[in-house]
Structure formats: structure tokens, C-alpha cells
């Protein structure tokens, strides 16, 4: 492990100052992702700034009926919160579908959405990876792609040697629920506070796969806000995986059906970011939520889906799997007579 300095500043403002002052500094929260990466040499910071005890651990009501999740609240705590379970079940279910009890006790609201991809090549410093080492190439293209993206990737198969190639997925379950809930991210940075819509927090690789999010160096997540949902809204999270527990999603679906029937849909395990299925939502706008309509909508969403060939037949199975999983999830949310 590369030696690094460890700091535990007095407050969040100081933490931000510390990180801004050192170009090779990182924040540390629960450490369940970062510490692994320190050991593997994937993360090689000179300074680690521990913010776990600085940001809020509280989950508090917002005046408009929403909920504020302090950045240091744990995944276990949020999943068990009666308000979350009752009003945002999609989030409680997503959290409980992730990792294990031990990990969820450590993992935080701020750290979870910022966990990095599980791409096996990203985690192995002996293989080229544009995300870990910009410009080195992408080992995943044509390799082990079972957990890789089918959406938001170029229409032609990427060139493994090109510096912009990256077909990684974002692995978080929580983030898929936050995307469908239109959560808002509260950020403190060198230039003060700002609010980022959750769906705009993560980015596609574009020409810089090394960046997962739009956060600038030194920007700290202080809280994530859940807007209120209309009374009578139903929501669910469905995660598909080979192993019944302790496995990342092959694909996952977060769905919200408000009383007006305007479906909100997000997908996990399919893209570089939690994928809000805006095209499907648009196709369905104003329509009766029937199985056929949902099928057509998801087909529209998947129209540009690009399977990645690779070891063990690649990941083309995800395309029909997403469609089937969306249908099954939405079916479970419809009133009896409609399904």
C-alpha cells in the first residue's frame, strides 16, 4: 500500500479546504470501497480526509414533505427508517438488495453513489484501463463484459485502444432508486454550496472515462434530499442476479407509479450511470399503463442498446432481460384489474 497522510479536520469547511489544497486528496466515509482500492493500488492518494464524523448522520423531515438524508447516515439506517420504508419503499428495497448487512452498516449515503465501477479490469492495476489510468486503453472491450454496459455506449463497438473507450457500469443499487426519485444532491465546495439533481450527478464516459460524476475536486456531498411523492404512489426495486445475495446487479429496475399513472423508471447495471429511462417515460406519457404500452415503451428505450461481445457470450442477454424485468416490476405495481 502506498503511504498516505490521514486527516480528520474539525468541520466540513475545513475538510473541503484540505482537499482543495492537495490535488491528490480524497474524502473517506465508510471506507468500504475506498479502503479496498487503497489496498489494491487502484486509489493512490497522498492525503485521505475523513469526513464520516463531520457530515450529518441524521435523517430529517423537509418542510415540503420530503426527507433529507445526511451524508453520513448509513445504508442500514436509511433502509430501516420507517418514513423511507413507508413513503419511498423503492429506496429501502434498493438499499437492502445491496452488499451485505456488515457492509451496509458501514456504507454511507454520501459514499454509496460515489462508489466506483466493479469492472474487473479497473480493479486490477496490471491491466490497461482508461478510467484508472487515462489513455491506457480499455481491457473490458472484448473481454469479461457480463457486468458491463449496453446503454449509453457508442453505436459501433468501441476501440479497445482508444483513450475514450469505457463500457463500465455504475454498480450502486441505491443510486438507481435515487435517480427514479428525482433526488437532489447537496454539495459543499470551494465556491460554496450548490444543489445537483441526482440524475445529473453521474456522467457518461464522453471523452474522459476517468470521471464518474460532475463533482469537482474538493466538492463534498453533505446530504441527499428526497422530494415528496404524491399520496398513493407505489414504488418498487427489482434486482436481478445469479446469486441470491451479495452480488451486484446484472440488471435492476426502479419503478414509481404515482396515482396519475405517469410511470417513472430507472435502470441499473446497464450504463455508466444510473439510467433514467426518459424515453420510455415519454412514450408512456398520457397513456394507459397497460402491459403492451410498457412493452412498447421499453422497446423504445432499448432501441439503441448495444450488446458487448466477450467471454462467456458477452452481455447481450441484458437487453431482453431488462425488458422482462421492467414488465414484471411494473406489473407488480399496477392495481389488480389493470395487470
Amino acid at each position: 500500500m502506498k503511504p498516505f497522510a490521514y486527516a480528520r479536520p474539525g468541520d466540513v469547511a475545513e475538510a473541503v479546504r484540505d482537499v482543495v489544497a492537495e490535488p491528490n486528496a480524497v474524502f473517506l466515509a465508510g471506507g468500504t470501497n475506498l479502503v479496498d482500492h487503497l489496498r489494491l493500488g487502484v486509489a493512490r492518494p497522498d492525503l485521505v480526509v475523513d469526513v464520516r464524523t463531520l457530515t450529518s448522520r441524521e435523517v430529517t423531515d423537509l418542510p415540503d414533505g420530503g426527507l433529507r438524508l445526511g451524508a453520513a447516515s448509513t445504508n442500514s439506517q436509511v433502509a430501516a427508517d420507517p418514513r423511507v420504508r413507508e413513503r419511498w419503499p423503492v429506496l429501502a428495497q434498493a438499499l437492502l438488495a445491496g452488499a451485505t448487512g456488515q457492509l451496509r452498516n458501514m456504507a454511507t449515503t454520501g459514499g454509496n453513489p460515489l462508489q466506483r465501477t466493479r469492472c474487473v479490469y479497473f480493479q486490477d492495476v496490471t491491466t490497461p484501463c482508461n478510467k484508472r489510468e487515462p489513455g491506457s486503453g480499455c481491457s473490458a472491450v472484448g473481454g469479461y463484459t457480463r457486468y458491463h454496459a449496453v446503454l449509453g455506449t457508442p453505436a459501433v463497438l468501441p476501440d479497445p485502444a482508444a483513450p475514450e473507450s469505457c463500457i463500465a457500469t455504475h454498480p450502486s443499487d441505491m443510486a438507481v432508486a435515487l435517480a427514479v426519485l428525482d433526488a437532489r444532491v447537496q454539495v459543499l465546495g470551494p465556491n460554496g454550496e450548490r444543489t445537483i439533481p441526482f440524475t445529473e450527478l453521474h456522467r457518461l464516459p464522453g471523452d474522459d472515462p476517468s470521471r464518474d460524476t460532475v463533482l469537482e475536486h474538493g466538492e463534498l456531498i453533505t446530504a441527499i434530499d428526497l422530494p415528496a411523492l404524491p399520496a398513493g404512489t407505489r414504488s418498487a426495486y427489482r434486482k436481478v442476479r445469479d446469486r441470491a445475495s451479495y452480488a451486484f446487479a446484472l440488471v435492476s429496475v426502479a419503478a414509481v407509479v404515482p396515482p396519475d399513472g405517469e410511470l417513472r423508471l430507472a435502470l441499473g447495471g446497464v450504463a455508466h450511470k444510473p439510467w433514467r429511462a426518459t424515453r420510455a417515460e415519454e412514450v408512456l406519457r398520457g397513456q394507459q399503463l397497460t402491459e403492451d404500452a410498457v412493452r412498447a415503451a421499453i422497446a423504445a428505450e432499448l432501441a439503441d442498446a448495444q450488446p458487448q461481445p466477450g467471454i462467456d457470450s458477452g452481455n447481450g442477454f441484458k437487453i431482453p432481460l431488462v425488458a422482462r424485468t421492467v414488465l414484471a416490476t411494473v406489473r407488480g405495481l399496477l392495481p389488480e384489474e389493470q395487470s
Partner: protein, 695 residues
């Protein structure tokens, strides 16, 4: 034929003697051995799959504070015997597979050793590598023999003629994946060379056999047995991967030799275990079955293609169970290997039988379907009277009883498939088999000490129960209470013992203990004095060569497949086994359900995703290499029939460590087929293979 021991302690459900130590965390494993002022070693590994190391820049590393030694092929001492290419660490610059050992850094802390080792710049002359197995490679070859000394090919009758003449034939190709043993405790060693004299080496090593481990180290370093002590009281699992020492043991001994008087510790990381500790080769199995309309086989054949490493040959005996499992006048088995630029395969729980009962047991299910015969009935109709391979009578063969009793307990009769809401439900069955073995060497020493009987033997307990059951056997051989018996194991200071492998430990060490106990009684009678001592060798125990000794079993599976997503869940797994006499039901059940769980894991989850482009397992950690977890195992039951086998050994035991994993994967595949109508012939069975066939 032997009179079996009168069971008193044998058969009792005694708790593990080492259980409390392990639960309290006070059982010391190799890496945790309390030694003074240890140093820590971390390997340097090749990052190419084939070629030559031309230079390594170690100057900066050596100059660092806290770095004690940096060994490379350019400065490491020459070993006495470099003939085994796996053990000849740092003896040459050639690289035969990615991840091969090309250096070691010893430092004051493990973190420093690792950081420095990872930072050493290596220059290579890289050559193109060849690391992809396929059945149509032109360079497949027949090894001289396959693992455990079995013949490479066997043939009887005329399979082709039988296939041409039969009413029904089946010809299919099946494949099993690459698997890694992945015991919880990594391969770890603490090594200490005495500074004075011509050297005395102590190794605290995680091993399935302290004596075989010592023998290999002595050979490589040119030492006498008296110059080396290997200690290993507890092993956190091995599944065969600690049966033979691997290169890491030689590397640690070499590193410690550079620092006489200083204990050196080396534990492989999980990723390194995917390269250096052996694995199960992927297998491709072409099966042929010919039968009459009533299901009586006229031919059974298996042609196996699998891989080995160019560095060192290991040939898994995958075709072996097909030679003896069912009656058929014409039979054939062949093994062909591709020698590749890949890590060295080795033993993994039930080598041969485990992969080798996948193809045949799925093929039998396919044949049953084709003939519209119940798969249990098909197996019963092909029950051989004597061992088809040797012509010898069975020492005992209760496959049919296992199948019938299992069917009864499982509720086999009636329709096998139905739909339950979103789930497609089906059931499946397959047979299990494992040969009953006893090793040629093992000696036990028995002493009367302070009113207790103390036996010593260099045996190993991998978590299997040897600490507990060896006293049970010894007590019955002496005719005393088990509480008055201690058996000490896991140290080369005790008499020589065979490796814990081939499910032969209890059979072998137990036999030696019984000889020693009888010798003791003959010499000293019922009233010994303090210090009275006798020993016994396994080769003095009765041996029967006129019968064919095997354990058999039947496994039943209920599989549920989600009609939307194809996710597979197995709520019920039930096995019935004929494994001779069970010495301790508690530890036996644990072995059997452990084996079945590992078989379930092989069926649904495990696969080492091999990336042939770079010559490496891509998913080389436990977050990505999936092993069945608790949530995947529903009801799991292991039963055994009351089996009296007077031919195997004086305990009447057949060995239970491996049979549990044999046949499980086939039973799962058969159940998934009955649930969905989709026949998966390539393991693992995953949802992507089912999706195209779902409603």
C-alpha cells in the same frame, strides 16, 4: 474380510474437539504463528503470459528503509533440485504463465513488502501466448497416464458398432467450467531458518499433509528430513489446493533463507490464489450412449478434452467414473490434453469424479427423457453386478438403495414439473460415486501417559473432523472411553502420515491407529504402565484386493426458475449416501452437505472467467467469483444408509470428504430442465442460458 471394530465411540455424535478454539479465535493458523520479530514477504509476479524476464530494476527497492531482501531470478540462490518446474522458483528467466513468480520482497511490514514488490520495474522479451482451450485444437495429446495413476484411455467391445445397431442413441457434448478451490484461509507460510550449522528449517504452513509438504521441500532444497520441521495443527480449508505444496511455499523458504534467524511470513492474496494454488481444469466431455428401448445400455463412451500447463502437466481423470458406473458391454474412455500458457491445474475436491459425473449423469437424464423412462428406473436397469472395469465383485454397492430411499424421502413420485405463480418448478436426480482409498504409508505411535492414551500421527484436519474422529477410532480399538484418548496431529515430529486427500484420511490414519492400539494391547495388556509405547503401520492392516471398493450416493434437487428473469433458486437439496460406517454423524453430515453445497455452487455460480487475451482469470476475487452463499441454500439434507462393508478396512469406513460434490451439478441441470424444458449442457447454469427458452 475383516471383523469390524465394535463401535462404542464410533458412531457417536461428538462435538469437534477443536471447535471451541476456533470459535474463540484461539486456534493458531500458519500465518498467525506467534514468532519473534517476523519479517514479511510479498511476491513479484509476471505480467505477461509468455516470454522472458530480461531485466528487473531493484536498486531503488533495495535501498529503501525497511526493505530486508529483494530476490529475483538474477540473484536468487540455486536450488538443489530444479527439476519440478512449479517448485523451481526464481531459477530462470522464462515466464510460462501470467502471474508466475519472478521475485520476492522481504520487508519489515507486509504493506511495505507489497508496495515495493508491486513497484519493481520489469523488462520482458514478450512472446505471443496460447491460452485458449477448445476441443478442435490440432495439438491435443494423450498424456502417459491421468491423475492418481489411471490409464489414459480404455476400451472394451465396439462402441461404434453398438451405436450403429442400437434402437436409441444419444450423442452430446457437455462442458464444465474452470474452478478455483478458494479455501477461506489463504495459502500461508511462516518460515524460519536457524542461523547456525548447515541449516534447520521450520515451516508453519497451511497444508493438507505435513509429511508430503516436508518431502517436497527437502527435495527442492537438498535437505535431510531431520533438517526440516513442518507444523500445521489447523487448516482453514484446502479442498485439494493444499494437498501438494505450491510455489509459494518454496518462495517463502527461499526468502527466509536470505534472513537466517528471522521468521518470514507470506500469505497469498486472494488474487494470487487464482494463479499459484492450482485449480480445476475446464473439461469438454463428448458422451455417447446406445440403448435398447427398455433403456439397457449397449454402449457408453466419454471422450474428454481438458487443459494443462506447459510448465507442468496435470491430467484430471475425468473419464474415470464412466468406466465403472453402469453396465454396458461396449465402453470407451479417452483423455486428451491441450498444454497451454496457463497456470498449473491441480487437485480440487473429487478430481476426476466431480467433473466426470457431470456429462454422464446429464446424458442419462436425456436418455431417460428420450425413452420416457423414469431416470431412477433407467439407472436401476443398468446396475452392474460386478465392477465393469475390473470384473471384481463390489465390496458393497448400494446405489439402488440410495436412489430408492432418496426418492422416498424427497417425494420423487408424481409429476416433476409445475408452475407456482411466477416460478417454474422442477425436480432432478443424479448419482454420486467415489472410490474408497487407503494410502500406503502412515504410522501411528501410541503411549500411555499420566493415565491417558496419547496417540501421535502427522495427520491433518482441514476442518473435516480428524481431531475428533481419530480419538473415536483409537478408543474403540483400545476398548476405552474416548475421553481418555488424545490424538495429536499436524506436526512432522509425529510419525509419518499420508496427505489428507482422496477421502483417504480416515481410512489410512484410522487403520494405522488401530494397528498401534492392538499392538499396544498385545504388548502391555489391559493394565499398562506410564510410558508404555507401541506403534503401528497402515501396511500391517488387513488389505483386500479381491473386491472393488466404492462409495455411492443419489442426489435430488428441486429447482425454481423465475419465469420473467430466468433467475434460478434451489430450495431443496437431498442426498442419500452409502459410505460405509459413519464414524461421527456430526462431522460426516457437515462434510456431505458441504460437498453438496459446493456442487450447487459449481452448478449455478462458480466459474473462473478466463480471459485468454491476457491469460488470466478476470474475476479473481470473492466479490466477483461467486460462491454459493447461505441465501442460496434452502433445505439441505444428507442421509446415509446403514452399510456394513467388511472389505474396505477395519473401521468399515469409505471416506466422505468428496462424494458430496459428485453428481450435484448434474442433478441441478436435470431439475432446471424439468422446470423449463431448457437443457443446459455447459456449466454454470445461468439465467442468460435460460432466457431464450422461457415463456
Amino acid at each position: 474380510m475383516t471383523d469390524l471394530l465394535q463401535p462404542h465411540a464410533i458412531g457417536q455424535d461428538l462435538v469437534r474437539r477443536d471447535g471451541e478454539l476456533k470459535v474463540r479465535g484461539t486456534a493458531t493458523y500458519a500465518y498467525e504463528t506467534p514468532v519473534e520479530h517476523p519479517a514479511y514477504a510479498h511476491p513479484v509476479q509476471a505480467t505477461i503470459a509468455r516470454g522472458r524476464v530480461t531485466a528487473m530494476d531493484t536498486a531503488a527497492a533495495e535501498a529503501l528503509d525497511g526493505v530486508l531482501a529483494v530476490l529475483t531470478p538474477f540473484n536468487a540462490e540455486r536450488l538443489a533440485d530444479a527439476s519440478d518446474a512449479e517448485y523451481a522458483v526464481l531459477q530462470g528467466q522464462d515466464v510460462g504463465f501470467r502471474g508466475q513468480l519472478i521475485g520476492v520482497v522481504v520487508a519489515e511490514t507486509s504493506e511495505l513488502a507489497r508496495e515495493v514488490a508491486d513497484g519493481i520495474a520489469v523488462r520482458y522479451d514478450e512472446q505471443p501466448h496460447d491460452a485458449e482451450l477448445s476441443a478442435d485444437r490440432p495439438d491435443l495429446y494423450a498424456p502417459e497416464q491421468v491423475n492418481a495413476g489411471h490409464e489414459t484411455d480404455t476400451a472394451e467391445g465396439d462402441v461404434a458398432a453398438a451405436m450403429a445397431a442400437a434402437e436409441v442413441t444419444l450423442e452430446r457434448t457437455y462442458s464444465t467450467a474452470m474452478y478455483h478451490n478458494n479455501p477461506l484461509e489463504p495459502h500461508a507460510t511462516t518460515a524460519l531458518w536457524e542461523p547456525a550449522g548447515d541449516g534447520f528449517l521450520t515451516l508453519w504452513d497451511s497444508t493438507q499433509g505435513v509429511h508430503p509438504d516436508r518431502a517436497a521441500v527437502c527435495q527442492v532444497f537438498g535437505l535431510d528430513q531431520e533438517q526440516v520441521r513442518v507444523v500445521c495443527p489447523y487448516v482453514g480449508g484446502g479442498f485439494g489446493s493444499k494437498g501438494l505444496p505450491h510455489a509459494n511455499v518454496m518462495l517463502t523458504a527461499l526468502a527466509a533463507r536470505a534472513l537466517p534467524g528471522r521468521p518470514v511470513k507470506l500469505a497469498l492474496t486472494r488474487q494470487q490464489m487464482f494463479v499459484l494454488a492450482g485449480y480445476r481444469t475446464p473439461t469438454i466431455q463428448r458422451m455417447q450412449l446406445a440403448a435398447d428401448s427398455r433403456g439397457r445400455l449397449s454402449a457408453i463412451a466419454i471422450d474428454v478434452v481438458e487443459q494443462t500447463s506447459k510448465v507442468k502437466e496435470f491430467a484430471e481423470q475425468t473419464g474415470v467414473p464412466t468406466r465403472m458406473m453402469y453396465a454396458s458391454p461396449s465402453r470407451r474412455s479417452t483423455h486428451r490434453l491441450a498444454a497451454l500458457d496457463v497456470p498449473i491445474p491441480s487437485w480440487m475436491r473429487a478430481p476426476g469424479e466431480c467433473p466426470g459425473m457431470f456429462g454422464p449423469e446429464v446424458a442419462m437424464d436425456e436418455l431417460a427423457e428420450e425413452l420416457d423412462i423414469d431416470p431412477i428406473e433407467l439407472r436401476v436397469r443398468n446396475e452392474p453386478e460386478v465392477d465393469p472395469e475390473t470384473g471384481k465383485p463390489w465390496s458393497s454397492r448400494n446405489l439402488v438403495r440410495c436412489l430408492r430411499e432418496g426418492a422416498e424421502r424427497f417425494g420423487w413420485s408424481g409429476p416433476r414439473a409445475h408452475r407456482d405463480g411466477d416460478w417454474l418448478v422442477g425436480t432432478g436426480v443424479a448419482s454420486s460415486v467415489y472410490p474408497t482409498m487407503r494410502q500406503a504409508t502412515s504410522t501411528a505411535n501410541l503411549r500411555y501417559e499420566d493415565g491417558r492414551y496419547v496417540a501421535e500421527i502427522g495427520a491433518a484436519d482441514l476442518g473435516t473432523g480428524a481431531w475428533t474422529i481419530l480419538p473415536q477410532i483409537t478408543a474403540d480399538a483400545l476398548g476405552v472411553d474416548v475421553a481418555d484418548v488424545d490424538v495429536r496431529i499436524g506436526d512432522t515430529r509425529y510419525p509419518v502420515a499420508s496427505v489428507a486427500g482422496g477421502s483417504s484420511g480416515t481410512n489410512t490414519w484410522g487403520s494405522a491407529l488401530v494397528v498401534a492400539a492392538r499392538e499396544f494391547r498385545t504388548k502391555f495388556g489391559a493394565d499398562p504402565r506410564d510410558g508404555d509405547e507401541a506403534s503401528g503401520d497402515v501396511d500391517q492392516a488387513a488389505q483386500d484386493d479381491t473386491h472393488s471398493p466404492y462409495a455411492f450416493g443419489a442426489q435430488f434437487v428441486e429447482a425454481r426458475v423465475n419465469a420473467d428473469t430466468g433467475e434460478i433458486r434451489v430450495p431443496r437439496l437431498l442426498g442419500v449416501f452409502g459410505v460405509g460406517r459413519v464414524v461421527n454423524p456430526r462431522t460426516a453430515r457437515s462434510q456431505l452437505i458441504g460437498g453438496m453445497t459446493m456442487g450447487l455452487s459449481m452448478a449455478l455460480h462458480e466459474t473462473s472467467a478466463w480471459d485468454p487475451r491476457i491469460g488470466q482469470v478476470a474475476n479473481h476475487d470473492l466479490a466477483e467469483y461467486h460462491i454459493t452463499v447461505n441465501a442460496d441454500v434452502g433445505e439441505i439434507e444428507a442421509h446415509w444408509i446403514d452399510e456394513h462393508d467388511p472389505y474396505v478396512n477395519v473401521m468399515g469406513s469409505k471416506g466422505i470428504g468428496e462424494i458430496g460434490i459428485v453428481g450435484t451439478a448434474a442433478a441441478v441441470v436435470n431439475a432446471v430442465h424439468s422446470a423449463t424444458g431448457v437443457r443446459v449442457r455447459d456449466l454454470p447454469v445461468t439465467l442468460d442460458k435460460l432466457l431464450p427458452g422461457l415463456p
